[in-house]
Amino acid sequence: MLDVRGLKKVYEGRQRQVEAVRDLTFTIESGDLVCLVGPSGCGKTTLLKCMSGLLAPTAGEVRLDGVPVTGPPPGMAVVFQEYGRSLFPWMNVRDNVELPLKQKKVAKAERRRLVDEALAAVGLADAHTAYPWQLSGGMQQRVAIARAVAYQPKVLLMDEPFAAVDAQTRADLEDLIRDLWRKLGVTVLFVTHDIDEAVYLGQKVIILSSSPTVVREQLTIDLPDERDQLHTRALPRFTELRGHVYEQIQAAKRGAGTVDEAVCAAEGADDKAVVGS
């Protein structure tokens, strides 16, 4: 369904090159819920941007249903970490969710139904006319999720969507994602740096190495499909899996720096060069 083959991304700075992702190959089956976890700065965001067609890889390719991804493909929706910057502050909640559907030329009645359903599904049925900045962080991220759900994507990519919300909200949102996934049958790729979150959410967990990034392990999470915060997290198997992923990440961390900072520095230098000239 979603194939990543020999993906490599090198950022060209002015003074140095930064290899964010070296050689990634993995496949996500249709209808799967896969969590991608790795040490911080291992190029998770870079990978996700390449997969969503927002960034062109240096080498290798991403295929969605056999078709190479060269730009953002129609059947894909992305939820970003920075909810505060991914919603249009000049539109109310309803318009935010509806805009991509208008662009997709969905008929009006159908649009109304999709928006209503999506907002109800994330528990925001009574917030249609609010503006995003009137909502709490968790609610804003719900709006972003509703927008993605209403879009009816085949694949939903999520880039550390809960990294910036508080712990309780986060637990609610995790259950929301499991719920939506089971109800909609959508394929989900969930990027996170949180090991517990990855194990709790995923049917599969892909563990990445430190930068330059390769796949370290693909792990099937053999926990029951019915999960809840209290009992699932108390299962001995959960603890085992969690421990295993933790060891892998620790092993991955040894002996490598982080990419993200270096990338930022390289890109920043590039920006300044243009502004200054």
Partner: protein
Amino acid sequence: MTGVVKRVGYAVGLPAVLFAAWWVSTANSDNFYVPPLRTILETFGQLWTLEKLQADVWPSLWRLAVGYAIACLVGVALGVLVGSSRTVRATLEPVLEFFRAVPPPVLVPVIMLFAGIDHTMKIVVIAVGSLWPVLLNTVEGVRAVDEVLSDTCRSYGLTGVARLRHLVLRAASPQIVAGMRQALSIAIILMVISEMTAASNGLGYTIVEAQRSFAIPEMWSGILLLGLLGFLLSMVFRFVENRALAWYHGLRRAQRGS
């Protein structure tokens, strides 16, 4: 209720005091150039009849509106173009900064040379002079469009016109409006200046004519009217801005609150 009274009080208080001070201090003035305010107000009533407003204020306002509209439209269009492309920006920015640095009034004689001395010249002067703040602010606004929002648009297939309409223009609108506000005051100044050089009607023309023929109360009443007009226009501007940028003010308040 008391809130409203308070706000009206703040708004009217100082003008009332200044007005009273002017009235009292000039009440017994026998200085030819500083007539009593009473005389000015009497002249104001006699001079600015409906007919006179139609003959001299209407042409001024009409030229102001056309020139200002051109400045805004061209400024935003060019600004989007320049702001969207690094290459265009790098090429044009020094030139734009140069043109902005040229004081617009010196353009009056130059523009007169090829646009004559009729309406066209005055409209061109207003448009050319008030274009720069709109243009440069739009460039800044377009450049500062948030990267995450931009990625969001791309991933939902919002490109081309839809992107321009829903993302670029809206995101840049606070800066665009700031530019338009600066442009409005420049446009009013240029409206008057363009009428002082070569004109047969208009507010600026009336004031200069009155001054030249030593009709001092008439001159003062013209200046008073000009001030009132400028005040009124900026009130209208603020009203429209508060409507159009309600989201932005709300967002700013929310960000300060957290």
